[in-house]
């Protein structure tokens, strides 16, 4: 049992004075009677008749003592384990993750959690205060500390779960930080246990209580979805879908693939429990649009039965080649995504092409298009320095899209100009300087290979066409197609190069609402995306992009309910000190006090009136 106001227990010091008063005070009324002869007989009989009369004689005292104890108890604000209230200041963290929307039990885990929260709010004493935090990908304080039970209740009733995983650990850290100034505080997490980050948070804050809601249920879900360029047809895309069954018995699942309102294909797939089942869907059509995969499951979690992707309409990018060799031209032409046009000497314009490829030609000071420069002497008016013989490749950025599938090790370069313009990032470095660098000139993205390909053995390697095509894809944005445009729910959306600082980018959500964010340092950031579906990003000068958000989370689709197990940073179990909530028992104690008071009054009347 815990006490909201332990100081009230000091009232127990009144017990000894009460005893003293009871035994020391002149309690008996003195009455003169003609004779006590018969009374003496009565008293003698009273003493010998019943042994328990001695106790009965002090029954009122015992009742008064009990009354005092119960009153003290009531003032101390006792609470018992197993219910909802933790302290005078309680923070309730509701798990707003997608798994809480599961109808296990009906109508949903989140509804059960809200009922728990409403009960807890109803149990608040007048002096108590409560705070509600909704734990989504980012914790959100729904109502700060308030004693207004109606406000808390209305806010609780309006809560809805997100379609994204929740970061309960961050929510616990936030709640503990917000409540740390309260002397009698408690934090209750209401969750189905889907987020294991809670275990670590409980290890940090063992006093946090956890109320686990929900019932285990089987579920079949889409745990991965991606739209990628077809390896056999550069202008076509393939839809990669991973299905997984959580719990239950193996069984068939109907899969439908839609583009817009058109059903592209449907099939029945056997999905065993535990192991993921990958599926690939081709022939998505030449037109762009929303591609939606739907599972016919009828299980308790509908959020993960649908996943979407945005299919960009295929478009060939025009590459204007200035001074290109046949080797380079052949490399460009090997990819259907690009359409090659040799320059006749006139400077290419933005209307003419999507990207310019310079080979052994200086890049103009104010380029109008993104460009790839192979062995240029001058870039943007800056000289790349004197040729350096036999630079030796020392390092490269393996993860950069330009170097995807490219193995630079062992490339021999007879001569290079390893001097990059200021501010440029080296992607491939040698002992003499950068051999491949990326940067911006005149507002245009550029890539510079610091040596003539023919002055090396690079053209003899398979890495050469890969490097050229990767570079063109990066410069035109093609490399990001079907990848960065599909995000897991809860992930932030970050875009670079979407205008200048101060510009505003707007994000339209699938439900029609939108949110705006400014461009800072050339980057626009949107917080965690919690709505599944296709979002549209609208930038300055009519630029737009669509991003699909899907749940695709094993943790959220696994509807098993597991209690939280506090662990420390090393993964070792930590003993929890919190109980799963407490319920105030002030009212029952006060009721008992009233009953005792009535009993004492009745006894007193019976004793003195009969």
């Amino acid at each position: 049992m815990n006490f909201a106001n332990p100081a009230a227990l000091w009232l127990l010091v009144a017990v000894p004075p009460l005893l003293s008063l009871y035994f020391l005070r002149v309690r008996r009324r003195r009455v003169k009677v003609p004779s006590v002869l018969l009374w003496a007989t009565v008293v003698q009989n009273q003493r010998t008749a019943r042994p328990w009369d001695k106790f009965r004689k002090h029954l009122l005292l015992w009742l008064q003592l009990l009354l005092l104890l119960l009153l003290t108890l009531a003032l101390a604000g006792p609470s018992l384990p197993g219910t909802t209230r933790l302290g005078a200041s309680t923070v309730w963290i509701l798990d707003g993750s997608a798994s809480m929307a599961a109808a296990a039990p009906n109508p949903s885990r989140f509804a059960v959690a809200k009922d728990f929260l409403l009960d807890a709010i109803a149990d608040l004493e007048p002096a108590d205060e409560g705070m509600i935090v909704l734990a989504g990908p980012e914790p959100k304080v729904v109502v700060s500390f308030s004693r207004d039970k109606e406000l808390l209740a209305s806010a609780a009733r309006a809560l809805e779960p997100t379609s994204a995983p929740a970061s309960l650990g961050a929510a616990v850290d936030l709640a503990v930080a917000l409540a740390r100034t309260r002397p009698d505080r408690g934090v209750v997490v209401v969750t189905d246990g889907s987020d294991r980050s809670l275990d670590l948070a409980l290890g940090r804050h063992p006093h946090v209580a956890v109320e686990t809601v929900g019932e285990p249920a089987t579920n079949v879900a889409i745990t991965a979805l991606d739209l990628r360029r077809s390896p056999t047809a550069d202008l076509e895309s393939e839809l990669f879908v991973t299905l997984r069954r959580f719990g239950g018995e193996p069984g068939p699942v109907g899969v439908e693939v839609w583009k817009g309102d058109a059903l592209l294909t449907s099939e029945t797939v056997g999905v065993p429990p535990g192991s993921p089942v990958p599926r690939v869907y081709r022939d998505l059509g030449d037109e762009g649009g929303i591609v939606r995969v739907h599972l016919e499951t009828g299980d308790a979690q509908p959020v993960d039965d649908d996943a979407v992707a945005w299919l960009e309409p295929p478009r060939r990018r025009k590459v204007v080649c200035v001074g290109c060799t046949a080797l380079t031209a052949r490399a460009v032409l090997s990819d259907d995504r690009f359409q090659l046009e040799m320059s006749g000497g006139a400077a290419p314009t933005a209307e003419d092409a999507d990207v310019v490829l310079y080979e052994k030609v200086s890049v103009p000071a104010e380029p109008v298009l993104p460009y790839l420069a192979l062995g240029p002497p001058i870039v943007g008016g800056e000289s790349l320095g004197e040729p350096v013989p036999w630079p030796r490749i020392t390092s490269w950025k393996r993860a950069h899209p330009v170097l995807r599938f490219v193995e630079p090790a062992g490339i021999l370069v007879s001569e290079a100009r390893p001097s990059a313009p200021p501010g440029w990032a080296p992607l491939l470095e040698s002992d003499a300087g950068p051999l491949l660098s990326a940067g911006v000139t005149g507002g245009m993205r550029g890539l510079v290979l610091h040596f003539d390909p023919l002055a090396s053995d690079l053209p003899l390697r398979v890495a050469y066409p890969l490097l050229v095509l990767n570079s063109l894809g990066w410069l035109t944005g093609e490399e990001a197609r079907g990848q960065a445009r599909t995000l897991p729910a809860g992930a932030p959306l970050v875009r670079r190069g979407w205008g200048d600082d101060g510009d505003v980018v707007r994000l339209e959500r699938p439900d029609g609402t939108d949110v705006q964010a400014p461009v800072r340092d050339g980057t626009v950031r949107f917080g965690s995306l919690v709505h599944t579906g296709v979002h549209r990003l609208l930038g300055p000068e009519g630029r737009q992009e669509r991003v699909a958000v899907n749940l695709v989370s094993d943790a959220e689709s696994d509807l098993d309910v597991s209690p939280a197990t506090p662990i420390d940073a090393g993964g070792r179990p930590v003993e929890a000190t919190a109980v799963v909530g407490r319920r105030s028992v002030v009212r029952p104690v006060l009721l008992l006090v009233a009953l005792l008071f009535c009993s004492e009054w009745w006894l007193w009347q019976r004793r003195y009136r009969d």
Binding site: R29, V31, K32, V33, P34, L37, V42, Q46
Partner: protein
């Protein structure tokens, strides 16, 4: 008849009824002076009682001349003697008698005294506390009633009860005397010894037991009490709950029964009056009833 004044214990109507009662209550008694009661001894009255043979020394004036002439034997005529009677009224003057019981006791003593004086008896009143106080020598004649009233009015109940000792201290009574004890019965030594002493003194003995119904029912008492005996100062702590009341009521019943049984065993007339009972004409009516019963129980009562 004495004037019924405010300080008179008995009013005029009651005194008149007592006088009528006195006329009917003359019985044969053994007295020193000629009185209103027929004596057990043969005396000088005009009423012939019997004959007996003459023995030397008899007053020859009592020789029956008719029998001497007819039978030629000497017989003397015996006449009933008219003698007075001494009535001793012993009033319990202990502290327990205070209140209504004392008023009733005074009225009862006054009634007995007046009725006795009207019957040409000699009356002596005592107040028995820890010591025996007397109203003076025995008095005769109605005019003496004021003296007795004055004694009763001037006496207040106080001190402890020692009825047995008081009884033993009473002046000796002749045969035919009547002793009346008016008490509430609260005697630590018990009433039985006192009653036996009364009976052994000879003559009639009556006890008027005055009880207060409010005392018996413990009216007005409740809760945790320390009961203080007004006579002895002894204290008894009692919690007066329902059970205690029941036990007390049983003890009272047993005590009252014991008192009447003790009187019966001692051959003493016993009459109990509840001074708190205002029914049946009140105290005076019950006193008259008691006096009539006492008269009926008296030996040699005139039929």
């Amino acid at each position: 008849m004495p004037d019924p004044t405010p300080d008179t214990l008995l009013d005029g109507a009651f005194l008149a009824r007592l006088e009528k009662l006195a006329l009917r209550s003359r019985t044969r008694i053994a007295g020193r002076r000629a009185g209103g009661h027929r004596s057990l001894r043969r005396g000088q009255s005009l009423e012939f009682a019997d004959h007996r043979e003459y023995v030397p020394g008899d007053d020859i004036r009592h020789l029956d001349q008719h029998l001497l002439g007819r039978l030629d034997r000497l017989f003397v005529k015996l006449f009933e003697a008219r003698e007075d009677r001494t009535v001793q009224v012993l009033v319990d003057g202990s502290g327990s008698m205070a209140g209504a019981k004392w008023d009733a006791a005074r009225k009862a003593a006054a009634a007995v005294a007046y009725a006795s004086l009207c019957g040409l008896d000699r009356v002596q009143i005592f107040a028995a506390g820890e010591t025996l106080r007397a109203a003076g020598r025995p008095v005769r004649g109605r005019s003496a009633i004021h003296r007795l009233f004055g004694f009763l009015r001037g006496t207040t109940p106080e001190g402890g009860t020692a009825l047995a000792r008081a009884t033993a201290s009473l002046p000796p009574a002749r045969a035919g005397a009547m002793t009346v004890l008016i008490t509430d019965g609260w005697d630590p030594a018990g009433l039985e010894g006192t009653l036996r002493r009364l009976r052994h003194r000879g003559g009639q003995a009556h006890v008027l037991h005055l009880v207060d119904g409010r005392e018996i029912a413990a009216t007005g008492l409740s809760g945790d009490l320390t009961l203080v005996d007004v006579e002895t100062g002894h204290e008894v702590a009692v919690t007066l709950d329902r059970d205690a009341r029941a036990r007390y009521a049983a003890a009272v019943d047993e005590w009252l029964t014991g008192c009447s049984d003790a009187a019966r065993r001692a051959g003493v007339g016993y009459f109990r009056v509840d001074v708190a009972d205002t029914s049946e004409g009140g105290l005076e009516e019950r006193l008259l009833r008691w006096l009539r019963e006492a008269e009926r129980a008296a030996p040699g009562r005139r039929r």
